[in-house]
Symmetry: C2
Subunit: 420 residues, 2 copies
């Protein structure tokens, strides 16, 4: 499914007409050098720009100032225990820069200097230990790119199409390259006793946000991370140390990780009983629904990224991911799920990381009901929202991985809708 785009020789771009200034250069002679009228209008070609000391640490250019995290005021009682969303409608590729990567915290992003950082391993271990940050730097390190998705991502959509933009419907996600120490190594250093079957992990913030994780997962691929995308974690991402729990819901990726306690049973904490369970139609709840199943969304065109040109070549693009492994295929429908075309993956699917997909079409200018459908290496196929509702009812908040529909109108604008 992964390949280079086909050779586009005479592929119709000219036939369809290019937008705006896209045009044939008039005349053979003029074609040899830039139009002097254009040059006169280019002040940037006639003066100095900024020197290399202008931005010791650079920020996005002012023209991109709308590509930021956004929160939704009404979603939570306050913005300190709340969430903001990655601007996925405006990004491409797969890496999420830390500066605009989704964040959620339950008692605010705390200020914890490295010097004051401590990580305790206790409970059912041979030798309880406390590590400093400097201690952690002495353990063997690994690097992995993983997605983090909040269990509540798309949660507002259970009852029907609510939020008008991919940033808000699917933006509780990011994808970064982490560097850190396998949790397994720290647990082995302390020596897990045979009766230990779970770990309880908590953060140094006031909420502590404690969660229980089966020991098998803790020993498998959990990562005590101190860098993301090469540099130190940002404050709001858990500086100086967070836990990565690959493929599992973001709430378990404890920020400001301060303690890992080995236990015989799950703690059944607030965060895994009254929250982060899925209430079914009969009032009972599914619990331990940690894995984020395969999911995808078209990021452009979408409500915040409308089509700004007429008929002709159009790039449809989006993101796909699975907590159970690599994405193997993504299909795109333009007619609300009646027919499907296989999209092109920009790179082969990576284990528990975002995949970028593209479908290059010749748009005829008529309206579309755009959908994407992810498949992962286990053979799992992303379901429709209605298929999920048939099993889980309408009371859930979490784990909505149903197929998203954007109604793209003939004028290029898009809207969040449902198809029956």
């Amino acid at each position: 499914m992964t390949d280079r785009p086909g050779a586009p020789t005479r592929r119709g771009f000219l036939k369809a007409g290019l937008a705006g200034g896209g045009a044939l250069v008039a005349g053979g002679a003029a074609a040899q050098e830039p139009d002097p009228l254009i040059t006169e209008k280019q002040p940037w070609a006639q003066m100095w720009g900024d020197g290399v000391d202008a931005t010791p640490y650079g920020m996005p250019i002012e023209y991109e100032s709308d590509v930021i995290r956004r929160n939704v005021g009404w979603l939570t009682a306050d913005t300190i225990s709340s969430v903001n969303f990655s601007p996925i409608h405006a990004l491409d590729g797969t890496i999420t820069p830390q500066g605009c990567a989704f964040e959620r915290h339950h008692s605010g992003a705390i200020d914890l200097p490295k010097e004051d950082y401590r990580l305790m391993i206790n409970g059912l271990v041979e030798t309880p230990l406390v590590f400093t940050y400097a201690d952690l730097e002495r353990f063997p390190r690994v690097n992995h790119t993983y997605f983090l998705e909040c269990a509540a991502n798309s949660g507002m959509e259970w009852a029907g199409a609510q939020l008008n933009g991919a940033q808000f419907t699917h933006g509780m996600i990011h994808n970064m390259e982490y560097s850190g120490v396998p949790l397994r190594m720290l647990l082995e250093e302390a020596g897990v006793k045979p009766e230990g079957k779970w770990v309880y992990v908590e953060g140094a913030d006031a909420s502590s946000n404690g969660r229980s994780i089966p020991l098998d997962k803790a020993l498998d691929d959990c990562l005590v991370a101190f860098k993301a995308n090469g540099e130190a974690l940002r404050k709001e991402h858990g500086y100086p140390v967070r836990l990565c729990v690959p493929g599992w819901e973001g709430n378990m990726w404890i920020k400001w990780l301060r303690r890992v306690e080995v236990t015989t049973e799950a703690v059944e904490s607030r965060e895994e009983t009254s929250k982060y369970t899925d209430t079914l139609a009969d009032g009972t709840s599914r619990k331990w629904t940690w894995v984020m199943d395969a999911k995808s969304v078209i990021t452009s065109p979408s409500p915040q990224s409308p089509i700004t040109h007429g008929p002709g070549p159009l790039v449809i693009t989006g993101l796909a991911w699975s907590g159970r492994g690599a994405i193997s295929r993504v299909d795109v429908s333009r007619d609300g799920g009646k027919s499907w075309q296989t999209a092109r993956l920009a790179q082969p699917g990576q284990n528990m990381a975002l995949s970028r997909f593209y479908l290059d079409i010749d748009w005829d200018g008529s309206e579309m009901l755009l959908q994407s459908r992810a498949m992962d290496e286990t053979g799992y196929v992303q379901p429709t929202k209605n298929a999920l509702r048939e099993i889980r009812g309408l009371n859930s908040i979490y784990h909505n991985n149903g197929i998203q529909t954007w109604w793209v109108k003939a004028n290029g604008e898009a809207e969040n809708v449902e198809v029956s």
Copy 2:
């Protein structure tokens, strides 16, 4: 060569003693919960942190304010036509965040709004064309992670060890995930005439920084990129559009790309005659030395990243790359090249992208002459600086890919030295 770190059960961390607060928790009972004295000293656990609207676009935390690009005042006549260096000594993993990624420009970083952006394809083509930014967005896109290294990286080291820090000796490099349109597609859209054998590419800044590229390379993997690490290019990286010329010297990666002219011959511009050629001992110059040969550097320990603890477990880490393909292996020497150990690659080598390597050792506390030696998939082995000097003499500025030596002293400090 790529694998998970070995299971470190009882691997000597305790035996060697952990630094600072790293310690056994006293007593069996106390081990079950955090020391109340420590808790009292944790103000962050007792108050709100920042809300999610605090950082619509986040910056690194204040404690990391030294992890920035730095320039060297004396290197160029001014800072507008100059260079700054990535803080590679403080980064981990492979991705370089745009905010601290090396940049070099010849007449300053210009302010070019997307709306005013134009790209001309002219010269020996059937149909000269001018594209707007919106036009480019309609072509099929690809994603690739590539390193960009300035040909002058390590150039100050030809005459001997000069600069005391990996940031300054090897920091003219970055590694980002690019999204954009293959240059091939734009050239095919214009229709290259049979007599076309080269392209001449130039930027919209006052320097224009024109370079000639053989048509084969232009049609192979060159990329007209508009995103890096998912988001728009930063101003200083060529917003809104730059050229990627994978594996080839950074000067050819034209920022603010405004024109691609198909020609029969190379233009022999200033940037490829008086600059970016390698002056040999006899005064003649090697030209067309575009490919960046395999190279590596240990980023920690290094002069800016000394060892801050005593004997015992120590992570030696660094970066390796090759313009001819993927890194296949990196060896590390602790005795100035007399003996070598094979390091662990954090991930399998990627084509023309940075690789991170680690060597986990039990440091005995004695001084070391640390070196790394990269090998790529072609079988090429990174040479010593002296081996390069034997062939190229001492007059060159560019293309110094010789093995770097850090003298790590018993007190943990490191210094840039040469070994004979």
